[in-house]
Symmetry: C2
Subunit: 327 residues, 2 copies
Amino acid sequence: MQSIQPYQELINSELQKRLELIQEPNGLYEPCKYILRNGGKRVRASLVLLATKMFVSDYEKAIPVALAFETFHNFTLIHDDIMDDADIRRNQPCVHIKWNTNTAILSGDAVMILAYTFFEEAGAQAFSIFSLLNKTAMEVCEGQQYDIDLEQAALTDAITNEEMYIRMIELKTSVLVAACLKAGAIVGGASADDADKLYEIGRKIGIAFQLQDDILDTYGNVETFGKKIGGDIAENKKTYLVISALNNLNESDKQELIRLYAQKSDDAQKYTQVRALFDKVQVLEKATTEMNTLFEEAHEILNSLSVADAQKMELRTFIEELRTREF
Amino acid sequence: MQSIQPYQELINSELQKRLELIQEPNGLYEPCKYILRNGGKRVRASLVLLATKMFVSDYEKAIPVALAFETFHNFTLIHDDIMDDADIRRNQPCVHIKWNTNTAILSGDAVMILAYTFFEEAGAQAFSIFSLLNKTAMEVCEGQQYDIDLEQAALTDAITNEEMYIRMIELKTSVLVAACLKAGAIVGGASADDADKLYEIGRKIGIAFQLQDDILDTYGNVETFGKKIGGDIAENKKTYLVISALNNLNESDKQELIRLYAQKSDDAQKYTQVRALFDKVQVLEKATTEMNTLFEEAHEILNSLSVADAQKMELRTFIEELRTREF
């Protein structure tokens, strides 16, 4: 993510400054600092700053808003990791593993409140962004609920369909990316039309990013992907690929796929058989087309923004970095 | 709570109106509505409205702020009940019992975001109250952490002292009551001095209320108290009473008290023996004096407010209702 590196560094140092001021009780704040300092790519905060810079040069004024959205994202990670029973996050033990579930609940709450506290620095003039933050925060919770609903549903349930899956990833991931771009635009004094367009760009690249995640996990190159290929199939994860296959295979192939998903297994045979069924109904092509369409639509909207082309370059590069990633 | 009844009814109907608008996903919002509709006395919201009415007649304009604080309080109940492993809340199963822990985590998060969403209705002019809400929310988390720290500490640990206990209940309970009164005052256009005084009144009555809880649980009248006397002693709960006793008993009595607290037991003998040790160092008198001093100081501050005496009557009555409660 070359394109956002300067923003990442700025966010890290601004966050660090604020975290140093927070002290007692240590039992509450140590886990908060642990997740907030354990980095990640700061994509959301960077997108706020990048969007502001499209419209004004002193983009630093968007730092409080950027920190608020980034911190909100980290809150969701703490609580989602409990719900998803995850062990590792960014190569480190999750908060509920390193400490315990109660600590992860409470420090997650504190991180969410911290997000709103950072937002406070933006002042009363940022009130319209406050609404956007609230709306987005609630949608992210809705996305998590749809994720739970979908994971608990049978492969044959009516809700296990592509539309529902796209809606879930839209709420769980992409509305936050969208809100970051829009919030940055608002801080930069963009017109309502441009701000809405940036929201739409974020929404599309967020969904495309998740589709790409599904594609890479099954069809990626192990050397560039950095982890084992086929993890989603081994875990019976409901991805766009399996849902698309289920809705397109003939009845006997569909039953075969359901049979293969009856047990979790990282057996190579399961992977090969499932992939063969995926290939029968071209799920890779379908998912890739869907993803590329979204990336292209994002580029088109970006081209239509009412700023000089030079101001669009950073976001254009960022979208291309996303589109061409192999990890 | 005769004094706040009209406010309670208004809050119930205003909350109900807003909850009806919230629909899908049901898996997320049903638990949110369950806790928010399952009432409670709406003390916090009522105190916001009551404080506004001390300064202006159209106190209804404080409804969004009142709903925000009340809703925030309900969020803390959902998550605290998980952490405290509680089963029953307001005579109904807790959210994590009726559903499960993951549902309680996620719907708790949604209730907190809902609090901020209700706050949004107050508009940009309420920005100073937004700061107060954030600060208070973080302090409530700190209070919960101190509560956990204190519960996990040994009776002989240095942190098991009266000062720490008072600090814990101040953060866990009384700052929210304080913030409600101050927020109501700000909406009513009170001077900074009057608003700060109302905060101080809330802080004092909040602490006094918790001390009274401890007193009633050990020394209350079973008929008026409505539940078994001695529950805190049976559960080895660290109350003001036992902490005060530990710090005032001679060494051999202290060891005896520690021995009695080695096991949880609702045996009448344990209760009688513990109470005898409490009585040896007059913990009832100490706690009662501390509590009464706080209530009296609250009255004095109320008397010094720069509004007509008639405007003080409701809060005066409320404080007296608290002070003389036997349940």
